[in-house]
């Protein structure tokens, strides 16, 4: 174990190296680039004896990984925003073919208009592609999550691809101290991939062929079952990781000071760190508030959210993306999760941090104030408020 000062992007690169990935394929896009630049250095210097296939598009990057994984190789790629959208078709192929690819995503807004900043529109647009989605909060958690992701993806009961999505710039380009485990520690935690259901040279093997309706639904059900096994499998992996490395992140939904809370805010990614500080302030002021961070968005922690709903009267969800005609993306999922809950908390959806708008303590305090007020707003575009009267187009 050594302590290095790393950006979230370098944390991705170091984790991929420690995982001894065998095939990397990527296409550059801001703000993902430094992940693959660092990996290119590791490969060129011989520190990482991997094949690095530099492709002409993100679509091809993911196809390279799918085909390489189909032969049994451990594969990694990384992208962001438009690149993730271009991969959309292959995201389905990767999960449908049950290839255990791990991908770093730097969550960035989607054009037009052009913007390079943090947002969850890119990854939320991919929530139904059959990938596990993890949203770390710190650079340390990025590194740990990537290592856990390889174990999870390659678990023979799972065999699903995993994306580890970090907020653009807040994590990707901000440095912090990161405990980097030794190669021996990682090797003990993450043994080489055991291929199953792969192509075997010399044998009549086939992946991806067409099927009739009965087999189609059977394959889809198998994929859904694998996703249903993720919470339990990931919990076991996290426990093992914690035992070896001394860090865990509380499963799919990480709660903070939710005991006896009148209102709980649900967040994802980096906003959670600020929100935790705000919870401490408000608790000190005597307000009974808490935080729940959605660490894993796919599979959605519906069970955990229902358990929270059974204890809390008011839930708010902060989203960096939305579903048109509805509310924030995660808020729609929370609404779906709690509709079968015996108790129905009042649900509010806060749109904030969209297109890189900063989510500071004042904004988060306002969300809690709204939640605790007599008549909560329900749906609120927080980012619009300071701009209310400003003309957007000439």
């Amino acid at each position: 174990m050594t302590r290095l000062v790393l950006s979230g992007n370098y944390a991705q690169s170091y984790a991929a190296r420690l995982a001894r990935v065998q095939v990397i394929s990527a296409y550059p896009i801001t703000p993902q680039t430094t992940i693959v630049e660092q990996l290119a250095k590791f490969v060129s210097s011989g520190e990482l004896p991997a094949q690095f296939i530099k492709v002409e598009s993100e679509h091809s990057a993911l196809q390279v990984c799918v085909s390489a994984a189909a032969l049994g190789a451990r594969t990694y790629t990384a992208t962001s925003s438009q690149g993730l959208l271009l991969m959309h078709e292959l995201l389905h192929w990767a999960s449908g073919m049950r290839t255990p690819i791990v991908m770093g995503v730097v969550s960035r807004s989607v054009g037009p208009p052009w913007s390079l900043d943090a947002d969850h529109t890119d990854t939320m647009s991919q929530r139904d592609t059959g990938w596990v989605q993890i949203y770390p909060e710190s650079n340390q958690e990025v590194l740990d999550s990537v290592l856990e992701s390889f174990r999870l993806a390659e678990d023979l009961a799972i065999r699903l691809p995993v994306m580890v999505a970090e907020d653009a710039f807040y994590l990707s380009h901000t440095v912090e101290p990161v405990e980097v485990p030794s190669q021996a520690q990682v090797d003990a935690f993450l043994p080489p991939r055991v291929p199953k259901g792969t192509l075997v040279p010399g044998k009549a093997t086939r992946l991806g062929s067409y099927v009739g309706p009965a087999d189609y639904v059977r394959f889809r059900r198998e994929q859904a079952r694998a996703m249903e096994r993720v919470p339990e499998t990931l919990a076991a992996i996290e426990e093992d990781y914690g035992r070896r490395m001394g860090r865990t992140y509380g499963g799919l939904l990480q709660e903070y000071r939710t005991e006896g809370a009148d209102a709980v805010l649900l967040t994802m990614g980096t906003a959670s760190t600020t929100a935790r500080a705000v919870v401490d302030e408000l608790r000190a002021e005597g307000k009974r508030v808490g935080l729940a961070r959605i660490r894993v968005f796919r599979p959605f922690p519906a069970k955990e959210v229902r358990a929270l709903a059974s204890r809390v009267d008011r839930l708010g969800v902060m989203d960096r993306s939305w579903t048109f005609g509805q509310m924030g993306s995660a808020a729609t999922e929370v609404a779906a999760a709690i509709q079968s809950s015996p108790r129905q908390p009042r649900l509010s959806s806060f749109l904030a941090g969209v297109g890189g708008r900063d989510v500071g303590t004042a904004l988060l305090r306002e969300m809690f104030r709204d939640l605790l007020s007599k008549e909560p707003s329900g749906l609120r575009w927080m980012d619009m408020e300071p701009l209310k009267e400003a003309p957007l187009h000439g």
Partner: protein
């Protein structure tokens, strides 16, 4: 030169689901006789998705991966990377894509694979339209051909544009080996397949693969029509190794293109004047090819 005998090994099973007289079925059969049992094939959405049969069967005795239509170049780069990483570098990697999946939607991926010097053989089996979806024009459909999206109705005379020059595009990437092949000439086909298998680096085959339902001819005419394509000069057989072009089926006098055109329903509407235009263009391009061979 002693005539080659086709190796008895059959890596395409008899239970495949190709149409009677299918050119692409012959293409895969001959190709695998050349590349052998240690071959992995990547097939995008195309006729061969269906020919290879559906789950849980497969028509090949070797591994095959299915991919989206535009992804063959990337797929074979991925297969090669994995084989190298897993110390199985002896395995041949073949991409086996249709004409639409190559010259249209798959062109970027093909270009990428050639540019990054992937050690693999990309085979384009050319039946000159999107046949699996029901005969829609592709960039590889020849001028004047009827397809369902280039109808012969009113003033419309079939496809209004000439066939895309895929060999020109590929050769601009300087592959180690590129060749045109015709399922109607299996000895030439096999020799090129064996040669390609002996080389390292990016390799490309443009295979003419006649399609009875798409070209509108009887299913027992595939080989005859395929031969006419070459012998009229419409689809000359040649190879380019390290930039050096060699015509592999020499022709003295070209047969009239009329012999090729008149036996296919897709060209049934062409007038004598239109056929004469094709004849002149074919003769000019044949002469140009011989020039390129003689004066590289």
């Amino acid at each position: 030169m002693a005539k080659l005998t086709l190796p008895p090994v059959e890596l395409v099973r008899s239970g495949h689901s190709a149409c009677p007289g299918c050119g692409p079925a012959l293409a895969m059969r001959y190709l695998l006789k050349g590349t052998g049992e240690r071959t992995v094939v990547s097939v995008p959405a195309s006729c061969w998705t269906i020919i290879a049969t559906g789950y849980p069967t497969t028509a090949l005795r070797i591994p095959m991966i299915d991919t989206p239509i535009e992804a063959t170049g990337a797929s074979i780069s991925g297969l090669r990377a994995a084989l190298d990483a897993l110390h199985m570098s002896d395995v041949q990697v073949v991409g086996f894509a249709g004409d639409g999946g190559t010259v249209d939607i798959g062109l970027q991926s093909l270009s990428g694979m050639l540019e990054r010097r992937t050690d693999a053989l990309y085979v384009m089996y050319d039946n000159e339209a999107y046949m699996n979806t029901g005969i829609q024009r592709s960039g590889s459909t020849p001028l004047g051909a009827w397809t369902t999206t280039t109808p012969v109705e009113g003033m419309a005379r079939g496809k209004g544009e000439p066939k895309k020059d895929i060999m020109g595009i590929v050769l601009a990437h300087h592959p180690v080996y590129a060749a045109t092949l015709n399922v109607a000439y299996p000895e030439d086909f096999l020799r090129k397949a064996q040669k390609a298998a002996s080389l390292k680096g990016p390799r490309f085959f443009h295979v003419l693969a006649p399609c009875p339902p798409g070209w509108k001819f009887a299913s027992d005419q595939t080989v005859q029509i395929g031969r006419l394509a070459t012998d009229t000069g419409i689809f000359p057989l040649y190879e380019v190794e390290n930039g050096k072009l060699r015509v592999t089926r020499k022709l003295g006098q070209l047969k009239p293109v009329r012999d090729y055109i008149k036996v296919q329903g897709r060209f049934g509407h062409l007038t004598d004047a239109e056929i004469d235009t094709v004849e002149h263009e074919v003769q000019a391009s044949w002469a140009a090819l011989l020039q390129r061979e003689a004066h590289p």
